[in-house]
Symmetry: C2
Subunit: 210 residues, 2 copies
Amino acid sequence: MEKVEPLAAGAPSVRVDQVLETATRLFTERGYDAASIRDLAAALAMRPSSLYHHFPGKQHILFAICFGLQSDFNAAVMPLFHQGKGPVETIQDVLGEHIRFSLARRGEVLVNTRERRSLPPELRAQVNRLRRAYRDALVAVIEQGRRQGLFSVEDPKLAAMAVFDMVNGMFQWFQARDQADVERVAKTYVDAAVALLRGWGRRYTLTNAR
Amino acid sequence: MEKVEPLAAGAPSVRVDQVLETATRLFTERGYDAASIRDLAAALAMRPSSLYHHFPGKQHILFAICFGLQSDFNAAVMPLFHQGKGPVETIQDVLGEHIRFSLARRGEVLVNTRERRSLPPELRAQVNRLRRAYRDALVAVIEQGRRQGLFSVEDPKLAAMAVFDMVNGMFQWFQARDQADVERVAKTYVDAAVALLRGWGRRYTLTNAR
DNA sequence: ACTTCGAGCGAACGATCGTTAGGGAGCGGG
DNA sequence: CCCGCTCCCTAACGATCGTTCGCTCGAAGT
């Protein structure tokens, strides 16, 4: 017989997931500092001390949310960079998945962007490493597209940050009602990013196709 | 003889400005919740209780920073909407001043974006009213440009938010070293916004002028 | 000279914070 | 049958939070 709960490395453990779910909701609603351990315990119908059997402290709950989300994000998006497609198609694939993934897990995304700063330096650095890996890959594709004359940006890093900020800013105020909503806004923002990368700093003549 | 300090309405009062300056720095460094009244008083070489002779409470210090900044912002930017220029030029003027102003007062901008959520609803609403006035004016100009065939965006509100988020996201990570730095990034982002509004959802042929 | 008043002080208030110590109920394995 | 383990409990710890009270001091006004 195998053990009921291996608990080896990052084993899920239903109760832990419940804690993380509720914590994500509270952290988005009130912010990390304003949401107390007692609030979290009350929302889970347990005592504050019981939480310390699952997590060594409050900061580690925040870390589990941020690092877990960012790991899943990279696992979902990073493979799309190496599919042998051209820069434009790669950007479209990556950014589309970026948006779809982030809207599907919007709560964790908001916690990761708004409350990550409350992590102690060494934990925050672990999350930032993953974020930087994604951003660097995005910069590399833009740089590749620039060399091929597809994009007209001067500074690929700046362009990547601009696209990044535009998308991440959207998650703050946009909430999808259904999957069609997700697909619509994904397509719209992917188009916006491509338009930005193509037209930045270029003089062009427009043709009203379609 | 006139009184040394009229203290009429929103009179500056050197000491109050010192408090706001130091509070802005502490709030940006540690966040509103993590920066305590005692920290602020210590940085000002005074006792916590003395702060309550200038402000009725901690939240009002945050409000003074956010509302003061947003008022000055609107006073600097809103007039540029009514100068009789075309949509493209108006967008360029407004966004350029938006960036220049925000970089000149970056600390307050960061507090206003990151910590405004910690304000009680009625105070936060006062700041949001000013922000909405600016955003609505931006939407109106984009809508005007769309009717004139200058912009190709489908939803002016969405386009305004995208440009808005792109610029505001930049303030989070970009720090200007000198005025030339400011002018360079202002020009770059204004070009990016125009490229976005022109090329969004359009098929076009490019010409590599200059 | 007497009053007024802004400004700051020391001390303390009650509340709430994250965290810990220690114990008990349930349960599967030897 | 009892050991050990997981999970949760009650109770409380020390620290820190925003805020208040009553006082002093010096400059300005009359």
